[in-house]
């Protein structure tokens, strides 16, 4: 099936970016050598829905190298780098991704990716916010029979899949790759943490030291953002709905306030909740002139941007990736990255090394599904812990570090209780 991309001539720059990603992906490389080359992927379809940038591209390349029929769809036009899409198409992957498309196009791309992957046999899915899974259960139900299962990348996706499972409508097994410890402990915390703040600093050229930064949500993403913001000298306020997480934030040295109270004191606001309208009309009304807003969470509706656009007297770009909304009362609110996930729209996404871990997990998930899906029930499944540990072990090896094993005596000690 022919790729849908913006401009094939951008491929050279895309290849260079993919090479950089490859050079910093020792774990995925080791996984390929030790696990993926066993023939599992020969002639198997793999449909991938993920932001189209260098690191995802390298995962697709690796899967293609071990024999898979790979198709890639962008879940949103805003997360497409056209040069990378072009390079990927040149390497024999079916690509459906164009940064100038509309959000509606994305559903169409995912449909095409599902069709491409199942065009000559069965397929497994590597999914983002359950997009491919949703399409397969709605507008492309006829393909369901060809899909062995899916592996889900995001927290938001897992939430949705649990909702599907609860409704009894999920028809194939899904591995919660997101819940792999090597994924959520690293990607959501260190990855989102570093890349969100980098995107903010490069977009605004503002200093973090001394700034009052409000982090909404203290899950792994919020924890990472708060910690690095503090590491760069910011004064951090956390907003939460879970009181135990709120208490952790307090013990970590942060102020913990209801969002409406925080709205009045913050200079920078970063949402990381996976929920909608965490910042909305009421909050905007209390913010000080010049407040900076950005979203680091998995859904694009955490900040109620529609309300902002509808209400502002004027909106213009004040720096690349930074829009200024002039409120009727004259205050100016500044939105970075359009309210979409800021480390992708105003940055290069997670650091390479983080994605190396994540995609090593994803590759092992796809491998596991390809071999075992037949014996797995429909529904959400965790990744077998030994695979999780293997990825961590490979990474520690790659950086010259290592862990111990329990001695037999210690194992017995842990198993006993009579002292």
């Amino acid at each position: 099936m022919e790729s849908v991309i913006r401009d094939p001539s951008l491929a050279p720059e895309g290849h260079r970016k993919i090479e950089w990603a490859a050079a910093h992906s020792p774990v995925l490389a080791a996984v390929r050598e030790r696990y993926l080359k066993d023939g599992t992927f020969e002639d198997l379809g793999v449909a991938v829905a993920l932001p189209v940038e260098a690191k995802t591209a390298y995962l697709a390349v690796v899967l293609a190298e071990v024999g898979a029929r790979v198709s890639v769809a962008a879940p949103l036009p805003s997360v497409v780098q056209d040069d990378v899409a072009a390079a990927l198409a040149e390497r024999g992957v079916a690509v459906f991704a164009n940064s100038e498309g509309s959000p509606e196009d994305a559903d169409r791309w995912m449909e095409l990716a599902l069709e491409a992957a199942t065009s000559a046999g069965e397929a497994v899915l590597i999914d983002d916010r359950a997009g491919l899974t949703r399409i397969a259960h709605t507008t492309r139900r006829r393909l369901l029979a060809h899909l062995r299962g899916a592996s889900e990348e995001t927290t938001s996706g897992v939430v949705r899949l649990r909702a599907m499972e609860a409704e009894g409508v999920l028809e194939f097994p899904v591995l919660a790759a997101n819940d792999a410890r090597c994924k959520h402990l690293f990607d959501n915390r260190y990855g989102t943490g570093q890349s969100t703040l980098t995107a903010l600093m490069q977009s605004t050229n503002l200093m973090l030291g001394g700034k009052r930064v409000v982090v909404l949500g203290y899950g792994w993403c919020g924890k990472g953002i708060a910690r690095y913001a503090a590491g760069l000298g910011a004064r951090v306020t956390v907003c939460e709905v879970d009181p135990v997480r709120g208490l952790e934030a307090y013990a970590d040295g942060f102020d913990v306030l209801p969002a409406l109270e925080a709205a009045g004191v913050g200079e920078v606001f970063i949402t990381a909740t996976g929920n909608l309208h965490v910042l909305g009309e009421e909050h905007f009304g209390r913010m000080r002139d010049g407040a900076i807003l950005a979203n680091a969470g998995g859904v694009d509706v955490e900040i109620d941007v529609s309300w902002l656009r509808a209400t502002a007297e004027e909106v213009y770009e004040v720096r690349r990736h930074v829009e200024e909304f002039v409120m009727p009362d004259g205050r100016r609110l500044r939105l970075v990255g359009g309210g979409m996930v800021v480390n992708l729209t105003a940055g290069d996404g997670h650091p390479v090394e983080i994605m190396d871990l994540t995609f090593a997990i994803q590759a092992l998930c796809a491998h596991h599904l390809a071999n075992r899906a037949a014996s797995m029930e429909a529904g959400l499944h965790p990744l077998p812990p030994e695979l999780d540990e293997e990825v961590a072990r490979l990474k520690l090896e790659a950086v010259g570090m290592g862990v111990d094993s329990l001695t037999e005596e210690q194992r017995r000690f842990l198993a006993g209780w009579r002292e």
Copy 2:
């Protein structure tokens, strides 16, 4: 039943300490007002096995105040403050705890506490490292019928209880209080972290800045110790058996090495694994002259002190709580707190505010067991999450902070998947 304590005349100092603990326990006080006063504890026995110091004592006092027949046993003589024991006895609690007892006495004390609590009816247990539970299942099986269940305080205890459950020998329901988020996220991390380093600094008068500190174990305890040690300027090396935790330590900025390699580079070693002989003959053999050793974990055998005592040419106290072992090759190893849990033997245990959380949880566990044990199966149970959240909410209130609630719209959003 008459208390077994060292010296009743020490009571005044003990009362003063208990008052200090009470003054810093707003959460337990709020729990007492809102939950414990409902008559549940009237004439119910509560046997408590916990270190006997001011904060535990205040828990016992609160339970007695709401009508319980409370008995307290020290699980080890090394964790008894005699003044507190004396004060507690004066307040009508049956106390079995004497800092000058032998480890064998401790089993006897726990037997006495079980008998006292069941002397006039049924009882629930608040347990430490499953000590009371072990006694009840071995030398005091005849009391089993009077025990509604137990609440377990420690990670080590939960490990043991799982072993008992796996063997099918656990005969009453146990609430894993340790696994309450308000317990293990705070007590093990912030509590052990701060108090272990305080004990080390006050015992040794050494500077942490620049020191190479080796933390063995990167569970919640180890994480807290490593983080505060780094916060005080130490260069931290972590040893682990779980590669994913090892990788977290790496991403947190620490060196991660097998323990034998770390043995050669460390200046200070702190064990926090809950396992035995984490530091033993082989490690001692590689340590540099002057190395400092301490145990922060729940079991007293993490450092192989027996081997040290048997092997050293000379052992003498160089500062209060610090013993110097002169090895046959002339190197001197310095052990703080005798290898027992250092924040208790060479310090005052966890900070008061931490124990306030923990004991609020314990009080609610006891309350829950007292009311519901009849309908619970034998085996380990988690604390109902709403109680956990209530404790966190009460604490945030006490410090003037607060969290949000989900709006109806947000609740629906999280439950949906069709976008």
Copy 3:
């Protein structure tokens, strides 16, 4: 005099950037209102040699607004943003700056700026690495009589001026603006720290957590870099020539090693010494494959890039701002920003708020020189401390904070000694 710029049509983007800088420069705005508008600058020339980007531009604009005849020269083509240069020219400033010029052009630009500033009377200089001062003392000595004095922005410049003073060749008074506490404590530490790491992260997309980062130089710049790198999870090694600074780095929790030893262990190297060839042939020879190199110091020769270029078998760009040098033995070294000051060549320079402080100081220095130079001796002078304090006070006011004053009783206490 006509401006020398690349493309006047770039002005709109430049104006937008300058507006952003203006919006975040409350201190310079306050200084303008309270001090600069007193007529001092009417018809006075001010020649400015500074990187041509939004924040510098705003300083030039402010000086022009209060009546000065302002000319701006870039000290190097690599630090010119052409859109800002165009916007500045449109606002009536004489600009000599073109990013596509050669390093030789820069001397010519500075000559032109000196001539423009003195074309209709006397002038003061705002200088960068003593560039204008050097030109005035060599190829444009005839202008010396028209120059009241200079204010110097950089540490490297102050070092050079001291050398000139020591040789007895400095012929006008210079204020060491760099040594103002509001300058060097903030600009060199927080400004260079944050912006250097931001530039590195956005250029390389690499993760700092766990990385072994070698910081060469532990002056204010190096301290800032080391601290923020650690705040982002890096493991930091410091190299120094001053043992007391080395010892500070040790107490701050960093490894301290001679540069040749550090060369073998580092993954990322950042120079911040103000000296030449801090990383050279010997160091390159010991580095691991894939090592990343960047310079954050004031001089472009800290990393011996000439040797790298002459020796590498191949050099190509692997990402924007990142060149890969393939060594004869196959190892690849990656240079960010060409060895020039990385936060300018691969980033947007210091955060706006930092430059607001710095340029408030510079504006006050120019004001001071304009009024007092006649009574000052040739040579280096410090800024009067009360001006330094005034800038800090204005900034604290702007962020809603404040300090105390000594009471009369306290003043007396500090002045007494008889107890």
Copy 4:
């Protein structure tokens, strides 16, 4: 002259403490070997006024070992450890120090120490808060002729000596040992920082994580306290009179408020200003119930304890070293360490390694004065920088680290200005 101490029988415990200090003083040991043994001290008097604890004692022992006639006076009874005093007396040092003495006794002790040191010839002074120097210029002026000079240990002392110099009454040369970089950068920052917080934590058993800690003064002491408090999870507010320091605190991520505003928000207050009545009636009036107060500064009047004692309705000890003051309105304020320097009165003073640096400096100062005082003018002098650097070099060597030297090429580069 006979020593004035509390109880000679306490000596054994004192010897043990001194041995511990000796074992952790590699720098002073190296200085003794390389510098002090040259005969300079033979038959020279050295009068030392310093807190009498193990580390000071070891300095006195070292000086005695190289031939000096050493006398030691405590500048205050509150800083005397009687066991150390006894041990020192046994080792042939004249000791005037008794923890049960009155503040008035201290002046008498210093007089005795001056007399003992000059009893058989000339002497140099090692002074604390200029105590010996004050006595020598007032009640013991007749000894002035025998005193070659003094070395001053504290910031407060240097302030006083400057006052004396300004009045023209200082009659011998004084080396500002406090201003040695190896002294004030380490002792005041890391030493006071760690030991103050350790003393607070062990005295109160309170958790720092989440606490609002107000640090009054952001000099080196305050900086160290603030940084470690933040490292332990506290939320820090800083009060200052110098706006530039205030601005540093802001950029470091702390709130900066006038003390009266901070009084209303703090939970823990630590003074470190060297000034009087930094916390007084007005501040106490605004504090919340249960506020904790401690002084880490060099003078005992930073907290207006006299007012507290005069005003409180009740005062009693609630824990060792913690007094509770019940205010007329019922609020309770808790003072740790009596308002005297808390790391000495409620702790063991600075960490050993810090004092090793400080006393290596002091020993070199005494050595320098002994040899050069004749050619030095009366007044304050800095320590020659090469001695400062030598101490740092010896310390880095002792911990296995090291620094570089400038190459000849680099030295030339720094000296040039013509590019």
